[in-house]
């Protein structure tokens, strides 16, 4: 009981601490790849610190839902993160939910965020909410089908079990079904974290923005919570992808030294996956909104092929 509590606190601190770093790393790498100097890796921390201390302006049209949204989003995302194995094959809150709970907890945060966007009465908020809900709905079947493919192989939707199954067969990630499922989930990752070619996290151009449009009216500590939650969500999804498909070097359980090795491996793999995201972001242009369904269809096809090949090969 005590151990589980400590694990939970440790993982929560890890999520809170590392998430802005990943965002910063991606931004810096992206800048370097585009021959810019860019801000430092720690910039997201400064931003959160700055926002937490700033004045906030609440729109006069907003109701109690507007201030409640950042909290719901932050808490549900953090909780989802606590259900994902990070530095060991075990997860502190595995009993409380597996991969389905993670997906649906992120869904709860999104539901409130979209309502928060509508609550202000601004046209941008509605625009962002509408697009966000549409794209996430289109990404959902791809996500689930790919998750099912892996879960069927592991015989469980428990993430600890899924990671264990992957550890059992070190080279399984080279199997066609696993690679296809990984590709499908990578597309979902791009869509869910609002990255190019689906959404551009760096723009405030009214015609193209999705996530930024929803949170346009948020400021100060509320914005800090939302930005922080967004980077935690990114970290959670990336960790999920890494540990389910490639748990190489992950210790079986939490222990002092084991956790440190696990953390080292996780950081390496996060850096690798971030680099892939950076390359994708730099070499692609943002898609028109109504081309995104085509990308999602590609993702769904990949996931369906993954499922089929999981029992053909």
């Amino acid at each position: 009981m005590m151990g589980a509590l400590l694990e939970t606190i440790a993982q929560a601190l890890l999520l809170l601490g590392v998430a802005p770093l990943v965002t910063g790393f991606i931004r810096t790498m992206k800048a370097r790849l585009q021959m810019r100097r860019g801000p430092g890796v720690l910039q997201p921390y400064y931003e959160i610190y700055k926002l937490l201390r700033k004045e906030m302006v609440i729109p006069d049209t907003a109701s109690w839902l507007f201030p409640a949204t950042p909290y719901v989003l932050f808490l549900s995302t953090l909780l989802a993160g606590l259900m994902v194995p990070m530095v060991s094959a075990g997860t502190p809150l595995g009993l409380f939910g597996g991969v389905l709970a993670v997906v649906y907890l992120l869904g709860l945060g999104r539901f409130f965020l979209a309502l928060g966007g509508l609550d202000t009465g601004s046209s941008f908020g509605g625009l962002g909410s509408s697009r966000e809900m549409t794209i996430s709905a289109l990404a959902e079947p791809t996500l689930m089908l790919a998750v099912f493919t892996v879960a069927i192989g592991a015989g469980s939707t428990s993430l600890a079990q899924m990671v264990q199954a992957a550890i059992g067969q070190q080279w399984r990630f080279l199997a066609p079904s696993q690679m296809l499922a990984f590709a499908a989930l990578f597309i979902v990752l791009i869509a869910e974290t609002g990255r190019i070619p689906v959404d551009n996290p760096a723009t405030h151009l009214e015609l193209t923005m999705i996530h930024e449009a929803m949170i346009l009216e948020y400021s100060g500590p509320y914005l800090a919570l939302i930005e922080w939650a967004a980077s935690i969500k990114q970290l959670v999804l990336m960790t999920l992808l890494i540990n389910v498909f490639w748990p190489f070097g992950l210790p079986a359980s939490w222990s002092g030294a084991g956790a440190l090795t696990g953390l080292a491996y996780l950081s390496l793999k996060l850096a690798l996956l971030s680099s892939v995201i950076v390359v994708v972001e730099t070499t692609n242009a943002k898609m028109r909104l109504f081309r995104v369904p085509e990308l999602m269809a590609v993702g769904f096809t990949l996931a369906a092929l993954a499922l089929v090949s999981s029992f053909l090969f």
Binding site: S63, D119, A151, Q161
Partner: protein, 679 residues
């Protein structure tokens, strides 16, 4: 052991008294309202008690009403299945009756409350009997009373053309369904030699395969009409919105569940081992209903029609569970079948509760804004805070988001589907994950739809004068909604407690006690039933959400307390002040979906701009957008035309000549004689 028959019959008699009170109070609206709805409430409470007792007892109990006719006995029976549905009915009836006290007050003097009370109690009475009848004749009788009471309630506001048409459509479709049921019951009854349900199981397994298949399909379609599966759903989105909102809540909450009850009766009581194709058909119907239901719901901006389409969606989700249970049965996996059945029945109860809640919420809004059009609502969260909170609870629950009840039943459905893939080597196993993926698409679209429904109706600025002038509804209406909202929390957070209710149900259907076997983690979590399967704990999730709020709480203590707060206007794009016209509309919100699924919707739009000098400065713009109702246009309209055409042709037989009529009689007599001699 106490008998259930006593209290259950007493409840029915109380409903009867409520109906009588309604009739007696035709000219005294106030007395009618209090007497008939208080009696309905009392009846509902008695029924809840009787159902809980029956579920605790577990065994079936059969008794006959004393006024039987020789061939047709009035036998009632309470087994776990009927007690479960009766429990749902009782909870809804209690909440809706409380709501009705306040809701109908505004109607006093304008409408005949006594008549409404009469049919309302009659509906509750017939529903109770549908769930407890143990004889096909008695069942169909109750079924018909239910349909007629339903028709009268739907057509209550009959001065509107739309209402009359919807009521008629409801009546016609309902009777087409009853016709199919009648044939099915007669086929089964003639094989069994009796109309008692008890004999049907043996009779069904003795039937030749093709005849059994026919009976199965007849039952599925007959009950499917009532449940509202696509494509025999058209009456549902027409009839549910036009009824008074307390009636809509009952209609979508429990009346369509009689179709689900009937299917459960046929699938798991009458039929021993249904063929594989039966399961596949039910899953396919479930997936299609769920997906198309939510897609059509997204296009609605009539709040009640939107909710009605969501009923179709949720019936689809229930049928996915039923179909999986049937397939598992055909594959001889009783334990998995039990889990799938639990998922379906859990969702049945959940949907009954949150859909009634949402309809009651919509009713309160309607009562204050005098419109069903979401584009004329907005800003109600400030003016009707309790209604908004209850509606939001229902919206989260129906979107299947944790930690409320919709999430639990959808999670169980996913688990059943996942287990299905490993249960067989046949190609049919691909059906399970595909159905799971479609279920997830449905759930995500439902979330989008409820962001729209809640966001457009309750948030931001009011979009009309009525919405701006709206006030909170009265206490009894708030209480009715609050009861159901609390039930969403109880069934969500208390999943490990509630799931034990399914033990007698699965024992009855498959001989395994699957309910309490799913409780894991020292009573904290539900498991998927497999040894190392997934687990979920809604209470744990809720607890963690509370505990984790320490994190933002610390930030708040450190910085937030001293952070300055200011209120300012929303960014209005540089225009002079934000008005309701700047807000996103419901139509605009669902526009991306409309464009992406254009092949399904075939949207038609018309824009006319009037201008004087330059086309860049229009004086007025007229915009019209419409989505094609595919089933009406491509199936029902041709069918209706064909029926009319046949009727016109048949008219030539009716030539008006007495000689021809005598000849018809003669021919018919000869034919009957030949038939009689042959048989």
């Amino acid at each position: 052991m106490a008998h259930i028959s006593g209290p259950l019959t007493a409840g029915v008699i109380v409903y009867l008294a409520g109906a009588a009170a309604g009739l007696a109070g035709m000219r005294a609206p106030r007395r009618a309202r209090f007497a008939s709805f208080a009696l309905a409430l009392a009846g509902a409470l008695i029924e809840i008690g009787a159902s809980v007792a029956a579920l605790a007892k577990g065994a079936a109990e059969t008794w006959a009403l004393p006024f039987g006719v020789p061939l047709f006995s009035w036998t009632l029976r309470v087994n776990p299945l009927s007690a479960y549905f009766n429990l749902a009915l009782g909870v809804l009836a209690a909440a809706v009756s409380i709501y009705s006290f306040g809701y109908l007050r505004g109607m006093e003097g304008r409408r005949n409350i006594g008549v409404l009370g009469f049919f309302y109690n009659l509906l509750l009475l017939s529903l109770t009997l549908v769930f407890t009848a143990a004889n096909a004749f008695f069942f169909l009788l109750a079924w018909e009373v239910m349909a007629l009471a339903g028709y009268c309630l739907v057509s209550f506001e009959h001065e509107k053309e739309e209402t009359r048409r919807a009521g008629m459509l409801f009546l016609i479709m309902s009777h087409a369904g009853t016709g199919l049921l009648l044939i099915a019951f007669l086929l089964l009854g003639s094989a069994a030699g009796t109309l008692d349900f008890a004999a049907f199981r043996a009779a069904a397994s003795a039937l030749p395969p093709w005849e059994r298949g026919t009976v199965f399909l007849l039952f599925f379609l007959g009950f499917g009409v009532k449940a509202g599966i696509i494509p025999i759903h058209v009456w549902l989105p027409a009839a549910h919105p036009v009824a008074p909102s307390n009636i809509s809540a009952l209609m979508s909450g429990i009346v369509i569940k009689t179709g689900i009850y009937g299917m459960a009766l046929v699938f798991f009581e009458f039929f021993d081992a249904p063929p594989v194709w039966a399961g596949l058909i039910v899953i396919a119907a479930g997936v299609i209903s769920a997906l198309l239901g939510v897609l059509y719901a997204l296009m609605e901006h009539d709040l009640k029609r939107l909710l009605a389409y969501h009923s179709i969606e949720n019936i689809g989700i229930i049928l996915i569970g039923f179909g999986a249970a049937l397939l598992f049965r055909a594959l001889e996996q009783p334990y998995l079948a039990a889990i799938a059945l639990i998922a379906a029945l859990y969702h049945t109860m959940n949907h009954a509760i949150f859909k009634s809640l949402l309809f009651l919420g919509a009713g309160s809004v309607l009562d204050r804004t005098h419109t069903r059009n979401m584009e004329e609502m907005g800003g109600l969260i400030r003016r009707m805070p309790v209604t908004a909170a209850c509606f939001l609870t229902g919206a989260i629950a129906i979107s299947g988001l944790p930690p409320l009840n919709g999430f639990v039943s959808e999670w169980l459905t996913y688990q059943a589907l996942l287990a299905g893939f490993g249960s067989t080597q046949a190609l049919t196993r691909v059906v399970f994950p595909i159905a799971g993926a479609m279920l997830s698409l449905t759930a995500a679209l439902a979330a989008a739809c409820f962001v729209k429904a809640f966001g457009i109706s309750f948030l931001a600025l009011p979009r009309s004068e009525h919405a701006a002038a709206a006030t909170e509804s009265c206490r009894s209406m708030q209480a009715g909604m609050a009861i159901l909202a609390a039930a969403c929390f109880v069934l969500g957070l208390g999943a490990t407690w509630f799931i034990r209710i399914f033990d007698p149900l699965t024992t009855q259907a498959f001989g395994v006690e699957a309910g309490s076997a799913l409780v894991a983690g020292g009573g904290w979590a539900l498991s998927s039933g497999a040894p190392s399967g997934g687990t979920i704990s809604t209470s744990g999730i809720a607890m963690m959400l509370v505990l984790l709020s320490a994190v933002p709480g610390l930030f708040w203590l450190a910085w937030g307390r001293s952070a300055r707060r200011a209120t300012g206007p929303t960014w209005d794009c540089g225009l002079p002040g934000l008005t309701a016209e700047n807000e996103y509309t419901a139509t605009g919100f669902s526009k991306p979906i409309r464009m992406i699924f254009a092949a399904l919707y075939r949207p038609r739009r018309e824009i006319q701009a009037e201008y004087e000098v330059s086309p860049y400065y229009p004086k007025a713009i007229h915009f019209e957008s419409e989505v094609e109702s595919a089933f009406e246009k491509h199936f029902y309209d041709p069918l209706r035309d064909w029926i009319y055409q046949m009727a016109r042709r048949a008219r030539t037989l009716q030539a008006g000549s007495i000689h021809a009529y005598l000849a018809y009689i003669f021919v018919a007599l000869i034919a009957l004689l030949l038939f009689g001699v042959r048989g």
